[in-house]
């Protein structure tokens, strides 16, 4: 269907539209008109993504003279694939109705590991080794050598790509990662470098958060994006955590050992160069005197991760004289590593600010703040000079320099915590030094400054006034939409008691109580016999999940559960988890039915949808609080209290409940879908906890469902499933329209719709 929102003709690839989607588009359009940022919360299962995509692309189409670029950030690669396939659907529709005028170029961007098609490179274990393997074939010095000596291997895809030079472009269309690989294979071009190049020209770019938020990555990928861009952060409820992690570093004993090895290797290289090619080192020195930390025109294949500090905070001045010479710099690094090693020997937990830390480095190791600040760029320059291509071996020293640069750059919003052992296992020494960032606004600040519109959206952003404070920005539009339901297709319940009427909870004192474990098991057993197809269970942590599943196995409960459904479980090994998920879907598809055990805050909870028959019921076992004894968390809470006057307890509850809401929100995808949610912990019945849940869940949480035991929950589940099986009218009942057609929209006009919600 197509319709007008003020002066923009919106192309929407379906015959009908939900009213809240329409309202969402109206708000979004206003934010774009105002060239400002906005914050929009809309429940899951209302087609946020397609609404976003279709409004922004239509907006761009309506203003051909001043095209805006659309940068869509997802948290994970599989969400990227999902978004791109929705965009494909939309693009096909627009092509049908507008013809060639609607042609756009849209592509996803990921790392070499996901885009490389060179079989020798891509078979490497992880990202860093793939990157390094690629560099070994494509670095400028390697190619120079190969030009002389044909026996040195290069990558044919990269060579072909370089040869075609300006001809190497993607024709308009929507490219998922798989499409990029296929196109690369067809043409014999390297898809990674092709995509990196095309990002500058594309109308729509879909990539991971970190390509914008992590200064190391953003520095090389997103440097040249134009200001007239719309940046969307989808599923952004965790954006503060991402921002914080982008600027945090931790150093362990292994890091230090590795760093020492790296320093030794570099000093050997320096000796070798001194003997063979002293001119090169001298040239580097001269360049550094001129104040260039880096050669300006690095070929793309040499580019390394950029400076970890934010672009505005990087000093634009000459590298200090005492680290210009390679051997001097190495000795500075050696002293730094030695100093950190000394700090790690501590017996007690230590916590200090960056200023104090820098001062003590200065007095004890003789390294001043400016030297620390330049560490990262200086290392980068040195490694290029030394023509080191196996960068994956040098991650350790990179981490150290990362740390040094950050600690030398920022004076507030950070703290340094040294823990000699893990709190829960005091007898095992495992010292760790962590530089943790507390201020989420630091990392996202350049994004707000650089781009004209930034959209932050998710299914759970409540309380919505907290986010502008955490991220320190002023949205022009900030709204939370409710869901208009045709029928009560979600059924949240709070289960406080087990089948024996005793309370259930994952509170510390009840957690390992065998009675609670048994009650949880009985609950699941009841449910697997009642609910068809897929059931998802979330636990509060991996260790808790392992413990409880083992105890269910020993008591035979698991065996009974398996009589009804197959059981799959998330493990810390992503490959295995992915295969388990794939099998889980197959089991749901073929009607066998399955249960998936997963962990709140885990990878599955973050990004996998359990919509339709893939999830008819979610059980949240316990309240997913963060580990409250963690020093990092405590430091962050302290910072929040001092800066934003947010109480610790409030923040912890807010954080736990947004995770819980996120977990259960995965079951609904559209209004035709339906699902139940069980919050199995007695603490959910308390008002202060419960009220932090997003409104669309609360509005369906009836008072009668607030204090249930297992048998009552099973009864309600049966009733609910029976009710959902009845036919219903999709367009809504009694004047309350929940599905709008093109004609409806015209009839209503634009004027009064905005006020409907």
């Amino acid at each position: 269907m197509k319709f007008q929102i003020e002066d923009v003709t919106v192309y929407f690839p379906y015959d009908n539209i939900y009213p809240e989607q329409y309202a969402y588009m109206v708000e979004l359009k206003r934010a774009l008109d105002a060239k400002g940022h906005c914050l929009l919360e809309m429940p899951t299962g209302t087609g946020k993504t397609i609404a976003l995509l279709s409004l922004i692309t239509s907006y761009a189409l309506s203003k051909p003279s001043n095209p805006i670029k659309f940068i869509y950030c997802t948290r994970t690669v599989h969400e990227m694939e999902k978004t791109l396939s929705e965009l494909k659907l939309l693009h096909n529709y627009q092509l049908q109705h507008l013809g060639p005028a609607a042609k756009i170029l849209a592509l996803g961007l990921s790392s070499r590991k996901n885009l490389c098609i060179n079989p020798t490179v891509v078979s490497a274990e992880n990202r860093d080794s793939v990157d390094a393997a690629c560099r070994k074939l494509t670095a400028s010095w390697v190619r120079e050598l190969a030009a002389e000596n044909p026996r040195i291997p290069t990558c044919s895809f990269f060579e072909n790509y370089e040869k075609s030079a300006s001809e190497a472009i993607l024709p308009p269309g929507v490219y998922t990662l798989q499409d990029l690989r296929a196109y690369g294979k067809l043409k014999g071009w390297c898809p990674y470098f092709l995509a990196r190049h095309m990002v500058q020209l594309a109308n729509v770019v879909v990539y991971s958060y970190q390509y914008l938020l992590d200064p190391k990555v953003a520095g090389i990928i997103s440097k040249e994006m134009q200001r007239e861009s719309v940046v969307v952060f989808d599923e952004a409820h965790n954006i503060d955590n991402v921002c914080i992690e982008a600027l945090s570093v931790s150093v362990r004993m292994q890091t230090l050992e590795g760093a020492t090895r790296n320093i030794n290797r570099m000093s050997q290289e320096i000796d070798r160069f001194k003997a063979t090619d002293a001119g090169r080192l001298r040239a580097e020195y001269n360049r550094l005197v001129e104040g260039l930390a880096l050669r300006g025109d690095l070929p793309a294949s040499d580019a390394w991760l950029a400076n970890p500090a934010l672009p505005n905070d990087i000093l634009k001045e000459a590298v200090p004289g005492n680290i210009r010479r390679a051997e001097h710099f190495l000795s500075v690094l050696r002293r730094l590593v030695q100093y950190i090693r000394g700090r790690l020997q501590t017996e007690n937990v230590e916590k200090e600010g960056p200023v104090a830390f820098v001062a003590s480095v200065n007095t004890q190791a003789g390294i001043d703040q400016k030297m620390l600040r330049f560490c990262y760029d200086r290392l980068h320059s040195l490694m290029l000079t030394l023509e080191i291509s196996d960068t994956d071996e040098f991650l350790h020293i990179q981490t150290i320099c990362d740390f040094a640069t950050l600690v030398g750059t920022y004076t507030r919003g950070f703290s340094i915590i040294i823990e000699p052992f893990d709190e829960r296992m005091p007898h095992i020494p495992d010292p760790v030094l962590q530089l943790c960032c507390h201020d989420a606004s630091l990392a996202i600040k350049p994004v707000f400054e650089r781009f004209q519109s930034v959209v932050i959206t998710s299914g759970t952003l409540s309380p919505i006034d907290l986010y502008p404070r955490l991220l320190n920005f002023n949205p022009v539009v900030s709204r939370s939409f409710t869901m208009s339901l045709t029928r009560d297709c979600i059924c949240p319940m709070v289960l406080t008691r087990g089948s024996d009427q005793l309370p259930v909870s994952t509170k510390y004192d009840l957690r390992s109580d065998p009675g609670v474990e048994k009650n949880y098991g009985k609950l699941l057993l009841e449910m697997v016999s009642v609910v068809p197809d897929g059931i998802v269970c979330f636990f509060v942590s991996y260790s808790y999940m392992d413990g409880i599943v083992n105890s269910w196995h020993e008591t035979g409960l698991l065996k009974e559960i398996m009589q009804h459904k197959l059981v799959f479980i998330e493990t810390q090994d992503v490959v295995e988890t992915t295969l388990a998920l794939d099998n889980y879907r197959k089991a749901c598809d073929c009607g066998r039915g399955a249960v998936f055990f997963s962990v709140a805050r885990g990878k599955v909870a973050e990004g996998i949808d359990f919509d339709r028959h893939y999830g008819r019921l979610v059980i949240m076992f316990g309240v997913p609080f963060q580990y409250t004894l963690s020093r990092i968390l405590l430091a962050r809470l302290e910072y929040l209290r001092d800066t934003f006057q947010i109480k610790e307890g409030d923040f912890l509850t807010f954080d736990a409940l947004r995770q819980a809401a996120q977990c259960v929100g995965r079951v609904i995808r559209s209004k035709a879908d339906y699902g139940m949610m069980i919050f199995a912990d007695k603490r959910y019945s308390r008002h202060d906890k419960r009220s932090k849940l997003p409104g669309w869940i609360l509005s369906h949480l009836r008072d009668a469902h607030l204090n249930l035991s297992t048998d009552m929950a099973a009864h309600i589940a049966r009733e609910f499933l029976r009710k959902m099986a009845q036919p219903y009218d999709k367009t809504g009942v009694m004047g309350k329209k929940t599905l709008l057609s093109e004609a409806d929209l015209e009839k209503m006009g634009n004027s009064n719709l905005g006020e409907m919600f």
């Binding site: 379906y14 015959d15 009908n16 939900y18 397609i50 690669v77 599989h78 969400e79 694939e81 396939s85 929705e86 659907l89 990921s110 070499r112 590991k113 992880n126 990202r127 990539y207 991971s208 970190q210 190391k216 990555v217 992690e245 292994q254 890091t255 991760l305 991650l395 350790h396 981490t399 495992d430 942590s541 991996y542 260790s543 392992d546 599943v549 196995h553 698991l558 065996k559 398996m562 009589q563 197959l566 799959f568 479980i569 810390q572 992503v574 992915t578 295969l579 388990a580 099998n583 879907r585 089991a587 805050r601 885990g602 990878k603 599955v604 559209s670 035709a672 879908d673 999709k730 599905l739």
Partner: protein
């Protein structure tokens, strides 16, 4: 098929008059239509020359029992017993006999029919013919009907099958035999300790062995490598059990120590490399919207040497890396188990022979992995699935409903079971009144029949065409009543009328039921009678019906007096129907 091509089978065998009889040694020769037996001793009186046409069935002893026997039963009740020297010989003959009986039985039926109704005869393809034969073989009731009407010349072959098109089509797609799924039961290695000594016992059945092989390819590989060259089967499983026991104690260090001493044991204790490799291959075929492994490529924050976020929340590994290969998590096992159960029984081998099971599994696995990940077809399918998944269903007009066709093999069974469901829900309210209910329903049916008759009579007078709806109703009422009776009586052994009847009578009754049904169906399908052909058909049907009538009377009179009432209740609707058909026919004329 290959067996059928083999025209003659000659085997040494002994002919026996009974199982106990030592038998006469001789040569058994089988051809397509007959078998002959010649005793070695020419003076022996035993000499057989029998046509397969007269053979009704065959029985045989199980492989591995004491004697390799084959017993051919004759139509008239006699039988021929042969003992073979070994089982393979017997099996060859057995297969031959089976196909010969089927062939001769069919030949006997199809030939007369073709000559009887030449007008309607269609040229049947071999495949079509085969399908019909197969259906007849599978369903004995159908076979009886076929025999009675088609061979009896009342219906033509084409007419007979025309009403069963569905049945034919259904079989057309040659669905594979339904396979039994694996049990979703983890073989928990809960050892049986007897409490007094230190002995620990494990139980292994062929089913469990299959499961172990499917879930743990390394064990399967080890079995193929070690048994029987390096160790006996028993030793192998003892070792395996030992390894499992070590795992169940969760003592990683002890496991590592034992493995260091015994390299074969180490195979079981170490992590399964084959699984890891398999996983790596499979991950490339995973739906990209699920692929979390790809995320690692973009994750610049959780670098392997840094760890923020969750891992701090977990138990630190206390042990040195040398024990790493011996640690096996329960969750891994759980996932692997569920994956195997989901895949189902991939092999079709008798479970008894461990080696062949292992080999077959290894073969299928190999073939599976050989399928390239970049399979174009798979890719396309995956893409389609993703695009289907991304659509929001209720914003769009629905696509074709994704329904699987119902597979009803035996419609009567299905029908009966539906009846049972209907009755069981009824039964909740009217419990205990079952017997009563049955007779009531007969009466009800009779009433409705009468109503129908009068209606048809009326309509028949005013309008020459009989309302097909009415006909359908009648037929339905009749059919329902009959089968409900049958079901009902069949399931209540104590109070069943049918069961109290002698077996022959009961079978005869059931046969008449079904033949009346068949006749009625054809009768009504020939309405309105517009052509001469239809007229002759209807006449024929009517005649056939009238032949059944006296038979029913006979049955009624043959049973004992105390049962007579109930039998007549049973028979009444049938009689009614035949009378009714007569009437309808007369009306038409």
């Amino acid at each position: 098929m290959a067996d059928k091509q083999q025209q003659v089978v000659v085997k040494r065998a002994r002919h026996k008059s009974s199982v106990k009889d030592p038998g006469t040694p001789g040569v058994l020769k089988m051809t397509k239509d007959r078998f002959t037996f010649m005793a070695n001793d020419p003076s022996s009186p035993v000499k057989l020359n029998v046509e397969f046409r007269t053979i009704k069935g065959h029985k045989f002893t199980k492989d591995g029992t004491k004697q390799a026997l084959l017993n051919l039963t004759q139509d008239q009740g006699g039988n021929y017993i042969f003992e073979f020297e070994n089982f393979p010989d017997r099996n060859v003959c057995k297969d031959f006999v089976a196909s010969a009986i089927a062939l001769s039985g069919e030949a006997g039926r199809t030939v007369p029919e073709k000559s009887a109704v030449p007008i309607q005869d269609e040229q049947l393809s071999a495949a079509e013919m085969e399908r019909r034969i197969k259906l007849l073989q599978e369903d004995s009731d159908l076979q009886k009907l076929h025999k009675q009407f088609v061979i009896g010349g009342i219906l033509s072959e084409a007419e007979f099958w025309a009403t069963r098109k569905k049945l034919l089509e259904q079989n057309y797609s040659r669905r594979p035999k339904q396979r039994v799924a694996l049990k979703n039961d983890m073989w928990s290695t809960k050892p049986l300790a007897d409490g007094q000594s230190n002995r620990v016992t494990f139980n292994l059945t062929p089913e469990i062995i299959l499961q172990i092989f499917a879930e743990k390819p390394a064990v399967r590989q080890a079995y193929l490598n070690f048994v029987p060259n390096k160790m006996t089967e028993k030793e192998f499983w003892t070792k395996y059990s030992r390894a499992e026991y070590l795992h169940s104690t969760k003592n990683v260090i002890a496991a590592a120590a034992e493995a260091a001493e015994d390299e074969e044991l180490a195979v079981f204790l170490k992590q399964d490399d084959m699984l890891v490799n398999e996983a790596r291959k499979k991950i490339r075929q995973v739906d990209p919207t699920l692929d979390m492994e790809a995320d690692e490529g973009d994750d610049y924050m959780h670098l392997p040497i840094q760890d923020h976020g969750l891992p701090r929340n977990d138990n630190k590994d206390v042990l040195d890396s040398q024990y790493e290969p011996y640690r096996r998590s329960f969750s891994q096992h759980l996932n692997q188990h569920a994956a195997v159960v989901l895949q189902g029984r991939v092999i079709d081998v008798e479970l008894g022979d461990t080696r062949s099971v292992a080999e077959a599994l290894a073969r299928t696995k190999h073939a599976e992995l050989a399928k390239d990940a970049s399979d174009v077809y798979l890719d396309k399918e995956r893409l389609e699935r993703i695009s289907r998944m991304t659509e929001i269903e209720d914003l769009q007009a629905p696509r074709d409903p994704a329904v699987a066709p119902l597979s009803i093999k035996d419609p009567r069974d299905y029908f009966d079971s539906q009846q049972a469901n209907a009755f069981s829900t009824l039964g909740d309210t009217v419990s205990g009144a079952k017997q009563l209910k049955c007779s009531v329903s007969t009466r009800e049916a009779y009433c409705s029949l009468k109503e129908c008759i009068s209606e048809i009579k009326f309509q028949g007078l005013t309008e020459p065409t009989i309302n097909s709806e009415v006909a359908f109703k009648v037929l339905n009422g009749l059919a329902q009543n009959i089968s409900s009776n049958k079901y009902h009586l069949g399931r209540n052994p104590n109070e069943s009328i049918l069961d109290s009847l002698p077996k022959i009578t009961r079978e005869e009754l059931l046969l008449h039921w079904s033949s009346i049904q068949e006749l009625l169906k054809h009768f009504w399908s020939s309405y309105p009678i517009t052509t001469k052909y239809l007229l002759t058909k209807a006449t024929k049907l009517k005649d056939a019906m009238s032949q059944i009538y006296p038979k029913l009377q006979e049955i009624k009179e043959s049973v004992q007096s105390d049962l007579r009432h109930q039998v007549s209740l049973l028979v009444q609707p049938m009689l009614q129907s035949s009378v009714f058909m007569d009437q309808a026919f007369c009306c038409r004329l």
